[in-house]
Symmetry: D2
Subunit: 354 residues, 4 copies
């Protein structure tokens, strides 16, 4: 495996970390060289996750304490799958030691430390890095990711909202005001935390909104929408918890810039929306534009790095409804991070992801 | 059981029908005197639904062919738990024979046969009855239900939308324009139909929108919102299917009539919304207004006739978010129908429902 | 509510405790006078469990610290819904203060302190009470329960095994050797513990055996089987965790005392088994013997105090297969405890349970 | 793709068929050249299953009517994913036309047409082929599969029982009498049939036994156990339906040939069992022997071709408990069929499966 790129995962025992392990063990161009987890120090990957024991690497590789110096020796690229606030502690020394870092937390997604403080309720731990990090949404920032030292991989909700909305905003097809994103997330989005709210019995046969009206992910969503619109965008975002392991379904309520008074105008607008999405995503390997009667369904994307997008114009209300479905742990987290790795390393972008 | 009111159920083997059976077997003031189901003619309730076999009535009562004359002999009040279009066929003769009818289908919910045709794609089967039927939402039409011959019990989605929105519209606290209702429904809402889309494997670990943008229930929702607003109301409604047996969670996006520019104005508006809901529902036995931090959760209403309502003002967007949770088969169907029965018969409104 | 019997629940915030609250709030003959929970001291039942807020008692009654003297003043009968080992701490003083105690833990189910130590790995905390406690399986010990000061309400697995097997053993229809009980339990059986193993994502889409081969409940199961058989009985018991909230399905593999060499002998034996069950349970309000082709299904008992039982003789293997289904939180815990309360207080045995 | 082996699937729209499509589209050594489904004739794979639309083959390949002559032209190897009885209709002409056939139905798994009739209630449709077919359990019949014209791929239950039991029987470590297999299956095992029993609402929050005591799969299970034991074996088998999409968990109750009277004898026997399994499976890529405290869990095998096996000796009962977990659609159906394809074509056995 000499020619493979050596990578490490800090925080490999949470759901995103475990999903990174799954993807990187099977990745044809990388060697998983180090995994850390305070809880499991000394145990092999195969012991903690028997399902990976088919891989020789999983049988041999043991969890270690997170130590930047050792990680930098072991790996060229380090993934951080840590809570926000903690990720920065590792990013700083790792970057100094010459590693490239792909951070799955929220620590480096914002350009502005003040916005970070407003939404995360503490000072940003390393504001000097904000200007250097690249928001790791490959469909938007592919070129910047290529040379990035620090990739801030987007959150699951933001991905499900940004990919459908950005092209429409950029083309001026929808108004930047009044946008509503109503999202339904599987329980793995809450992480592998032993909290009562996420017990099976509390989640099964239950559906509930939470974190309204000011969810933390709004900060990065609005930052990117604002860039696309060229003017400040504030949106409504309502997350709900639903009893599935994985998957996010987002329904977006948008106001077209042009009213469509009749069937002809509606058909014309529909054509424009279609052309806009085709231009943006026809060549993208991980965006599936649904045609005809199909609507997004999380079961069709779970386990894959694909986001499904469909839309409908409503003649009665004049609105454009756009819906997306993704796996919150893949396109919404670890798969997207591996996509950035592929770009960063010059691999085919789909390596290890199809 | 001589002094009990005799009731019958036409179509007692679907999910709403079965739920009616459950509620009526345990009801202290009624006697379940007849149940029909073409599929199960000749079998006892206990044979088809072993879980009811603790009741002597369930062991004795057999499913019969639906026959208006026999039903009218057997029962004073007849529940119709049938598909739309079919219910009218039974309502007409049953009313002529002197029965009071509580219809759980959509057949008599609309005042206007043209709207019916627009949304249901066929002529209304008995337009002459539309003027006589009462929309069976007890919190709104209690007085009319008392003397109604024909109660059109509301659908599950409409109930989840109307109860939260009507008081606000009546008080002029929110604008009648731009209303969005995003609803999540358990699979029993689709009925006990052997269709591939509703197989366990197709629904489990799946979340999906459907029936957009013009769901049939919009017709009755907009009719009632229009009455409350005193002007035509058109809303956006997006239903989603989620993998729970029962429960509807609706998130409503509303625009307050008055902008709230600062914290003080927001507190004042919040006070008004609270007062509005208290005035409307404080005495209602089946409406639970959530105070403090609690948000609706379907698991807290499943199996009961209660609808939970909570709201939040969003200082960032200026919107009022209202959320409701109900059991689609109880408050959204059979429980509400029994509530109407109680009103109609002069029983305590909570009889058999708490 | 002056004439109602006052009852208290110690440990009312776990799943069994919450289920007791549900049943006792609706019980026509009792007044819930005190509930304790260290976690929620000072909060009302309605605050902690909004779903009970329809009851005035739930709005008024606040969780208190568990204090035997205060509990004894407040209530005549006290339910203990506590972990084993802890329950005894409360039972001792409460009994001294004249309360009658219904304990849902394992502390007083065994007659023999040495067996307790063998299975629970610590000395019994109050061995002097073992001789006085009554095993609270009403179908077996109804008469003793009437006058019991201390009822040891059976566990969920034991109930699902004992009710089907005891009559057969007593009649000598099956051998007391080689019995196998294979049980599938919903996740609420693990209690409301914030442990990683019981997170939604860890349980959903997962089925797994656990606690084999020497589960603690074996001690009480074998004690009662031994009494019925009149000779020492040791059985095989394998519990599995399945992704449902509630319900236990137990499949029992039994060897008939008499071989059935041909169809006639098989029919004769089947007749005997049927007669045995009819004699034992035909009059029992909470045992449903399934006839014909029906097999037990947890969904038909969830939320009720009923256990379903069915059986099949297998001509190929000569075995008798018996299957049972119950709600682990009702007939397997809180419902059964209320059944004992009814017996103890001279109420109709079904009061508050149908 | 000239050098790839061309394969076809007859019956590609059921769950096994769809899983074959998934595996074969991603397989590095084959070209999916034809798929049939009467229901979807003329539609592309991508239209029917949008989740496959990332593959060019899925966008291009259209479902056709099943026609043996055309299939034989298009493909060298044909998979039959059809109901039993129907598969034989296609196997006969396809074999004559020179195709190699991998049949996922039960049609060619038995050596004896009389046994087939006894269990499937109709005459075998092509008894002359029974002697030529190879039972496609690679861990047992690898050498025969290499040159087989007709592979009868085993059922999901049989695989979950045979792989754990066969080595023990062959080594004489357990008695061939009194074997009990208690199995829990996900709902996809029932196929994509629009029947009421498999609706989401009927399966969710439900656990139930079915098909007892004489399930059809017993015929092939007992055939293979008999071969391994060298004497007729009759077993007890109880399948249960549990609310997961995929996965079978089987718990086996076995009697060791030698009693283990004390801890030393038990340790010795444990050693023998371990050695037996190591000898049989240490080199098998798709059998995972669990060591230490780990027990099988379906969530660790779902989506993979792996079967997990663990065992425990019970000092109290003298029994050996063996547990297995597999994905019923992969190792229990389509994955195993692809494993046979790999053997048959001389590919690495793990091609397209890891």
């Amino acid at each position: 495996m000499a020619s493979r790129v050596k990578v490490a995962i800090v925080g490999a025992s949470g759901y995103s970390g475990e999903e990174l392990v799954r993807l990187l063990l099977a990745h044809p161009r990388v060697q998983l060289a180090a995994v850390t987890s305070r809880q499991y120090v000394g145990k092999s990957l195969a012991e903690v996750f028997p399902k990976f024991s088919q891989y020789a690497t999983a049988r041999a590789l043991r969890f270690s304490e997170p130590d930047a110096a050792k990680l930098a020796k072991a790996a060229k690229v380090v993934f951080l799958a840590l809570p926000h606030g903690v990720a920065a502690e590792f990013a700083v020394p790792l970057l100094k030691l010459g590693c490239r870092v792909i951070d799955l937390s929220a620590d480096f997604r914002l350009n502005n430390a003040a916005v970070y403080k407003d939404f995360y309720n503490h000072d940003h731990p390393a504001p000097e890095l904000l200007a250097k990090s690249v928001y790791g949404l490959p469909e938007v920032y592919r070129n910047k990711i290529k040379s990035a030292k620090l990739v801030a991989s987007p959150g699951c909700y933001p991905t499900s909202i940004l990919l459908p909305v950005l092209p429409l905003l950029r083309k001026g097809l929808v108004k930047p005001t009044g946008i509503i994103a109503d999202s339904l997330s599987g329980v793995s989005g809450a992480g592998r935390k032993a909290e009562q709210d996420y017990l099976f019995v509390e989640c099964n046969e239950s559906v509930r909104p939470y974190g309204i009206p000011k969810h933390r992910h709004l900060s990065e969503i609005e930052q990117e929408l604002t860039i696309a619109a060229g003017e400040p965008v504030v949106i409504q975002f309502t997350p709900h918890l639903i009893p599935v392991n994985r998957g996010i379904l987002t329904t977006l309520y948008l106001a077209p810039e042009k009213h469509f008074a009749d069937a002809k105008a509606m058909a014309a607008l529909n054509e424009k929306v279609s052309a806009c999405y085709q231009a943006a995503y026809a060549e993208e390997p991980f965006v599936r534009l649904l045609e005809g009667k199909a609507l997004p369904d999380t079961k069709n994307v779970v386990g894959t790095n694909v986001i499904e997008i469909a839309w409908r114009l409503d003649a009665r209300t004049g609105r454009l409804i756009v819906m997306s479905a993704e796996d919150n742990l893949v396109k919404g987290a670890s798969g997207q991070a591996v996509q950035s790795l592929n770009i960063l390393c010059g691999f085919p972008e789909t390596a290890g992801l199809i």
